[in-house]
């Protein structure tokens, strides 16, 4: 592997300072948590950092704490911890279930929430050294190429899909993200963290140089809230979502008070479908309504040459997830 130095940050302030200092010294820094993805990219020379700022040892960033009725999850908490945490399982099932579907036990044991949310795309062109938008170029090779796993919503000029399973869950839960950076901390809604390629073709989120995702806050769930994550893969395990659905429903007996539906694997960001959610609010959920919601959730789909199969797959994933979550039979 390329040479680099590793520095263990004590706290967020020092981590940011170490990254800034490296840049001042003419070196390329990179933040790392679990490092699984980062080291793979270094080995493939997709990135060539000189200084790794290691975040996992930062005090307090691997903690899950109840705060303001909600839950504060440190960015360095592992996916394995999230998937087993009793409070997350009982109150934010969609997040525990999403974390549980990521990769393999070996990766979940070191992979962090911040890393999963901030990971780079897994488009095979980007990962195999093509000079695409994500690598700083000005082409998306998937448009005329092998695009069976690419975006059906929100594409252009790049057609990557956002690879994270936990990201759709966090957007569905109305999470807020705390970002550490040179100006101190700033807080944004999870939905505002991710950006479409038309806004910024080279990056998937708003993180700037020397910034990293520090922690995630989940608001207290309203009474009657239930949630789940459903992930469709092209094999049974150890891969990214072809399509996934993160759904949070607030139910008052059989009436839906509010709904959040966020799709994964289909767009360059976690894909929120407010038009479909609106149909559910104030309604008794029936199989007929679910079918209508599923149909509306694919409105605006714009598939490429080889991924049109994702459109009915998305519709049926929404239908199945809602059906299971409401205990109805389809």
């Amino acid at each position: 592997m390329k040479t680099f130095s590793n520095v263990n940050a004590r706290d967020a302030k020092q981590a940011v300072a170490l990254s800034q200092q490296a840049r001042k010294d003419g070196k390329t820094p990179a933040f790392t948590g679990g490092g699984s993805d980062l080291l793979g990219m270094v080995k493939e020379r997709i990135i060539t950092p000189d200084v790794l700022v290691h975040l996992r040892g930062m005090k307090g960033f691997d903690q899950i704490e109840q705060r303001g009725g909600g839950l504060e999850i440190g960015g360095q908490v592992t996916l394995d911890t999230i998937s087993h945490h009793p409070l997350i399982r009982s109150r934010y099932a969609v997040l525990a279930e999403a974390a549980e579907t990521v990769a393999t036990p070996q990766i979940r044991n070191v992979g962090t929430l911040a890393g999963n949310v901030s990971q780079r795309p897994w488009c095979w062109y980007y990962r195999n050294g093509f000079p695409c938008f994500k690598a700083g170029g000005n082409t998306c090779f998937s448009i005329a190429g092998e695009n069976q796993f690419h975006a059906i919503f929100g594409g252009g000029p790049s057609f990557i899909v956002h690879p994270s399973d936990t990201a759709p869950a966090l957007v569905a839960l109305n999470a807020t993200f705390k970002i550490a950076g040179p100006g101190g901390d700033r807080t944004v809604a999870a939905s505002d963290f991710f950006v479409l390629p038309k806004q910024n073709a080279a990056h998937e989120n708003i993180l700037k140089d020397d910034e990293f995702l520090a922690s995630v806050h989940l608001p207290a769930p309203r009474p009657g809230t239930r949630s789940t994550y459903h992930k469709i893969m092209d094999r049974e395990a150890w891969t990214h979502a072809v399509v996934s659905a993160a759904i949070v429903l607030e139910m008052d007996h059989d009436i839906c008070r509010s709904a959040r539906i966020v799709l994964g694997g289909v767009a360059p960001v976690p894909w929120h479908v407010p038009g479909a959610e609106k149909l559910l609010v104030g309604q008794k959920i029936t199989p007929e309504l679910i079918a209508k919601v599923a149909e509306v959730s694919i409105a605006g789909a714009n598939p490429l040459a080889k991924n049109a199969y994702k459109v009915p797959l998305t519709r049926n994933t929404v239908k199945r997830t809602l059906t299971e979550l409401t205990g109805l039979t389809g």
Partner: protein
Amino acid sequence: MADPVSSFDVSRREFLEGTGAVALAAVAAVPALGADELPSVPHTAIQVTINGVKQKIDVEDRWTMVEMLRDGLGLTGTKIGCDRGECGACTVLLDGKPVYSCSNLAVWADGRSIQTVEGLAKGDKLDPLQQAFIDHDAPQCGFCTAGQLMSAKALLNNNPHPTADEVRAAMTGNICRCSNYNRYVEAVMSVSGARA
């Protein structure tokens, strides 16, 4: 790089036995690997417990854990398959949990504990899991076996009587090119005292 193994004078067998005397010898014997020859390569002195033996070792920052284990310490039971966190051949236990040693840096193991496949047998007596792998003809080419053993061991440490589905889930991250998955599951189930 200098050959670090040649300057590492504790034999593999002595190391495996893990006596207190060996532990002391190991701490004294491990030199700053390659540091004299490559002063410009960042390196860090770490302390790590490997198969119960506390070690001090100087590692290059860019070394993965498996490079430290194989090239630095001669513990070649852990294999490098894909070297990109996909196949599981390099699985070791870090503080009791299975991780890909090709996708973690050696410096990140500072102050922590690693168990490798060499740490399973007690002297010449195989771990029951290793014996079960033999009895069930679980390994074919054998390249993935060390990793399969470590994932299975981690599961059984926390869940001595898993269901077959739990075994499959725990071993998801270990790919077998010979595709002998059913035998691996049977072997693990036999140790747990349950039937697949």
